[in-house]
Symmetry: none
Subunit: 216 residues, 4 copies
Amino acid sequence: MRDHVRPLPSYLVSRFHGWQATTYTENKGWYRRLADEGQRPRAMIIACCDSRVHVSSIFGADSGEFFSHRNIANLVPPYTPDGDHHGTSAAVEYAVTSLKVAHLIVLGHSQCGGVHGCHEMCTGHAPELEEKTSFVGTWLDLLRPAYEAVKDLPEDKQIEALEKQGVVTSLANLMTFPFVKDAIEAGTMTLHGLWHDIGAGSLEQFNPATGAFEVV
Amino acid sequence: MRDHVRPLPSYLVSRFHGWQATTYTENKGWYRRLADEGQRPRAMIIACCDSRVHVSSIFGADSGEFFSHRNIANLVPPYTPDGDHHGTSAAVEYAVTSLKVAHLIVLGHSQCGGVHGCHEMCTGHAPELEEKTSFVGTWLDLLRPAYEAVKDLPEDKQIEALEKQGVVTSLANLMTFPFVKDAIEAGTMTLHGLWHDIGAGSLEQFNPATGAFEVV
Amino acid sequence: MRDHVRPLPSYLVSRFHGWQATTYTENKGWYRRLADEGQRPRAMIIACCDSRVHVSSIFGADSGEFFSHRNIANLVPPYTPDGDHHGTSAAVEYAVTSLKVAHLIVLGHSQCGGVHGCHEMCTGHAPELEEKTSFVGTWLDLLRPAYEAVKDLPEDKQIEALEKQGVVTSLANLMTFPFVKDAIEAGTMTLHGLWHDIGAGSLEQFNPATGAFEVV
Amino acid sequence: MRDHVRPLPSYLVSRFHGWQATTYTENKGWYRRLADEGQRPRAMIIACCDSRVHVSSIFGADSGEFFSHRNIANLVPPYTPDGDHHGTSAAVEYAVTSLKVAHLIVLGHSQCGGVHGCHEMCTGHAPELEEKTSFVGTWLDLLRPAYEAVKDLPEDKQIEALEKQGVVTSLANLMTFPFVKDAIEAGTMTLHGLWHDIGAGSLEQFNPATGAFEVV
């Protein structure tokens, strides 16, 4: 450990000090209340780790607004209470049962490297991801069922369709969690499925009535 | 599904349209390049889902800078290539082997609900978290080993100490991943351990030489 | 040559070794990637050579962020493809057509010696700069047209006004380059005009709607 | 103009405000003196525009230390007092005759896109740069004479050799300026030739006695 952990790069130190002297100073009262009274986020967002998905920016959100879980390809596994470590399921459980968020949002995006990797696996082009030791490949197995819904599309439409179908699959998996179902049926929480086009700067949402994504 | 998925709340629609008309418009060229050429983030940050941890804000980061994984209590499990779905390990693997990030940063924080829950478990006050069906409890088992290092401290110091010890444990677990170890030994990546005090607006970093966290 | 080129002064050697042992070591992975994969700067900044204009500092920028051209008085000449050596035009061409930067920023500043010299020329106080053999005077001829816009102001306002008018002139000249115009019209690049007050530590930006510089 | 010039991207605004509240505030007295009394830089540095050449960082330099001219490939043309606009010559003239810098430093670097382009021209692989309308190509003509010194080296050594030979050529061209020669002969200024390896983080300096670059 002694040899591996290093001081923070100085450009981040400078920027942090800048934040401390401006944003923090101007919002100190609120940040102290958030610390003292605990968070009370209105929504949970499940988004991709991708550096180009800037959730708080696109929704103008400040500290305290979104409980954010980010994993590769914004996937939610089905309900599997087997005693293993399930980071995503734990985050959903905490948001729904402890924080009682009012909205549970799954946010997919264009040019998703994870979705692309899954497509490669499903079309037989990524044997390295299919090895049992590949954490990425094993994780993306969660998205495989969604490939069924897109495999007959023209090839150049499949990736974007799979990005969107992944959101739909995650929404469906969320419904397998008893506490999610209960909150929805009690009318205390709503589900939302989004897809963000990074280059075009647009946002589409899943319309369950039509089964399509529509521009917001 | 038809009855469960709803349109995005209008306050988020409004804000998104505001972002689209301002930030997106002013940065369109850059966002398009990020879409066309792919991301090249300099660092991966592993942070908590907590809504009060505003990573991009405190580091003045814009789209494309940080690959962000967020889970409850910013935990990294030890290397366990057992073929199960490991969201955190998959994110680390992707960041290190595909994106080749230069810095891997674990960011803990004060008033962490997850760490508090683990402390409750360890002191016998949270039987509900110890049930096998609790995803939160099972996830927080990953933090249990860190409790050993703090259990003899005065009680009112234990929570903060456990938040920090959680970061140290995650750093140690990261070193059990062969690809993390390889990147560090090759000199292409560095590890960093941080703890952010939400109310005080301060930042501390782990100094492996002293074993303590020091103000940045 | 043998007698003219000397070893680097030791104070710079010491500082370089300090940088190498700290900043370089902490960021080695990133610097190697920048070397191996090439730069991908988000913005080009055209600033003055003046030692008091510390571009990377005021914008918290690290290696790889800004493509920087610096000349006396941050001037851009009009488009003149006459086969002569045009260092500024070459830098702009490279940034726009090869690097495809998303932002092109002209940064003027207070107490600019070059702008002061041009003002002296325009008011007949600097015959030595008007000699054909003066590189400084000939270079500052590029700023002369801007004097028209400030010559009727009270004398003590003229210098600062000329510094700002120089930025506006450079922005207008940039628009005479076909590749700049194309990138702007394609929506892949934006222009920005700034003026930095060195003593006050403030920054103003040109608002084309009002024709004035406004505090950022 | 109205439609082309835009507000500064908000990530730069935030960072600037951070700088203002920290670095500026802490150094206000010095910055005000620099504004009131004028700059007095010890050295002029002629470096490349490349975003990876972070001059102030590698030399630990703060505001007021270096008069910086940056152009593509850090080139200095020979003395040509023909009444045309010569940005580089103007910057050198101002530094030497007005600011009376004590050191004049030419800093080359590895992976230089400009030098690479010149090598492509010299080996007949870049007809587009040889067109009279290419500002980059015309600018790089200044480096062509240096190709003679490297063309018989093994091909994989030529680029780095040309980067270094470019520095030597610029140093020789500097000596053709009467005011440079005068200052050197009067013993009030020294010349220095450097080459920085971006990936390795090393620095070499030209030793005129051996004609080679040696590690600093």
